[in-house]
Symmetry: C2
Subunit: 425 residues, 2 copies
Amino acid sequence: MHATTVDELEATGISARGAARELAALSTETKDRALWNIAGALRSNVGEVLEANEVDRAAAARNGEGAATIGRLLLTPERLDSMAEDVLSVASLPDPVGQVLDSRTMDNGLRVERRSVPLGVIAVIYESRPNVTIDISSLCLKSGNAVILRGGREALHTNRALVDLARRAISDAGAPEQAVQFIESADRTLVGRMLRMKETIDLIIPRGGAELVRRVAEEAAMPAITGGVGVCHVYVDRDADLEMSLEVAHNAKTQNPWVCNAMDTLIVHSAAAPAFLPRIAARWAEAGVEMRADRRAMSIVGPVEGLRLVPVEESDWSTEHLALTAGVRVVDSYDEALDHVAAYGSGHTEAIITEDRDAADRFLDMVDASVVMVNASTRFNDGGQLGLGAEVAISTNKMHARGPMGLRELTSYKWTVTGEGQVRS
Amino acid sequence: MHATTVDELEATGISARGAARELAALSTETKDRALWNIAGALRSNVGEVLEANEVDRAAAARNGEGAATIGRLLLTPERLDSMAEDVLSVASLPDPVGQVLDSRTMDNGLRVERRSVPLGVIAVIYESRPNVTIDISSLCLKSGNAVILRGGREALHTNRALVDLARRAISDAGAPEQAVQFIESADRTLVGRMLRMKETIDLIIPRGGAELVRRVAEEAAMPAITGGVGVCHVYVDRDADLEMSLEVAHNAKTQNPWVCNAMDTLIVHSAAAPAFLPRIAARWAEAGVEMRADRRAMSIVGPVEGLRLVPVEESDWSTEHLALTAGVRVVDSYDEALDHVAAYGSGHTEAIITEDRDAADRFLDMVDASVVMVNASTRFNDGGQLGLGAEVAISTNKMHARGPMGLRELTSYKWTVTGEGQVRS
């Protein structure tokens, strides 16, 4: 049963709460068996999932969606296989629950420990590729949390097929299939109701556009982890390696411009600009990147065959472009670059390219963002790339979790105290 | 300057935000020097503080406050000395900022670390003893956070004297005195404004009654850590040691009944009740504890000279008594006790008294609370008692921090990634 009405939504919450209690006590073996079953089911139910996917893609085409959107929706046997691999890699990670985080014995003999426990019920609202449905389900399962999924309307049939398959696989492993709940309705009023279900939802995570994130941050009655909106910078310092700067800035902008960790603004030290800017401009002319340049960058770049070069506007500096567009600014000092990042960055991902060790260290110390980088592409802010196995979201909050959220970030802890009758005096 | 108007309140936020940036970069030495200075000032400005305290106590007496409230307000040279000791003990703790929490090198050579960083600006609304003003200031200072304090009206002069002294001490150490901000006005509309200052306050912590906690949880635009409301149980199991049960239950109820970690409800297994209940009743008759007993407990206790014994009402089970009052229930099984705790507990502190190792382990596993205890008084749920040095509050949230919040719970982290030009393919 997938919720399509408000009453069903509330029932979904209660059912998830019940499953969460069972999940908290499940053995690692049972949870891993459920994950193996999901991986197996993704490989043995290819026809069923692709058929549902075909329905979604046909509907998207009828609604006049572009090739990019339909491409993001597309599942193939290869993509299903790669989703199965991801599930197996979550299964192979250590169980994040029941770990002793600290342990000490006090002078009075009390033994004090902190143990990791699941958060409970996690709700995720997302507008993403269908693989996210399985990614989130497997991370929540492994961390002993029940999950309520609310995916995008355009992937409804695909997501439903994936959830059905996952629930059967979980049940076959002897775990509660209510661990994964699915909100089927595209009705937006349901989201409003969901945001008030603080008795049954412990944490809500919006994964989607800025409007969704803002709505959840403002309306949610339960804790929310927001993020995913990245105004990200690459700063090419005066002592930067020229070739490295070209590779990293190009990769940060073009490797996948539609995601939150893509570079939005390129900041270049005036000492590096004359050698660097014309060359990146040439590459971007070829790749179709529009440069929104400040006056100095405009004059240094000069005319480049095929380059889309337009004067930057103030609003560009605080825009997450999600497109082949980059703001470009020339600064006269390191501090000017840091000030720009502090003023316009969204605390997501910030990178410096430099050969100066002190400049690098100071950047890592001073810049306040979920991930700060030296000599690497901003595109590495990703749970998989940073060794978490996978991620539920990238948090730009400072509370609880910051940056990519993997298994550990889906847990809380409790203190245990064991004595022999100690009392307080 | 202490804020007394809305405009001053906003200025306080901006000033705290500026101080937070400086604090994040301060050396451990400077922070510790500031703490030593505060401890010194508490010992060398006794007259000034006691004079202010006298003003508050006289006002409280004029307002008809009882001896208990005035006693809580009272500062003495000894209490100031003990506050100074507490500050020195915070200074002696390791710096929670700048610690490398994780570190790994990925296959592509990227070096990935997580480093602890301050949260930023923390606001605390409290209605407590004046020592809390210094406790919170010193914990925030050591963890590199700026703090905005809003204490109770009844301690206004005392708190102002303590904050003035702390700010001078901080400034003398070469740290920004704006690190500690004080809201002077008793105007309640200021609190409403404060709860919306999400641009300048990163975390708000209410320490006070249930009404304040509820208001903050509902209205705060920034993350809030709530807690401090404890409906706490002691369960005397069938295999409990009789003398230990008496000592622990008595201590949990009477050692300080006015605080959140005092026991509210005593649950007794029917096999232990006939030997235990009459004896605890006799002690409570002497100590003036009112027993609100269920029918079976009533009949087992029988008439005890001087005992206030009344039938329990359903609402008692979910009441934090904050008084010499205890609900008493007899159960026929361990599971009945666990069900009662799950139904009525507030997730604060829960204890079992038992000699049965399996029963103890199951209690620690199954009970969902910030601190779960075996054979120890609930009164040990306290930052100092559990080895944190001191505490800002006791969280009953699961996000970010649970249980007593010490220095580590006042930090966030950032990821740092260092490469040699790696790009994503």
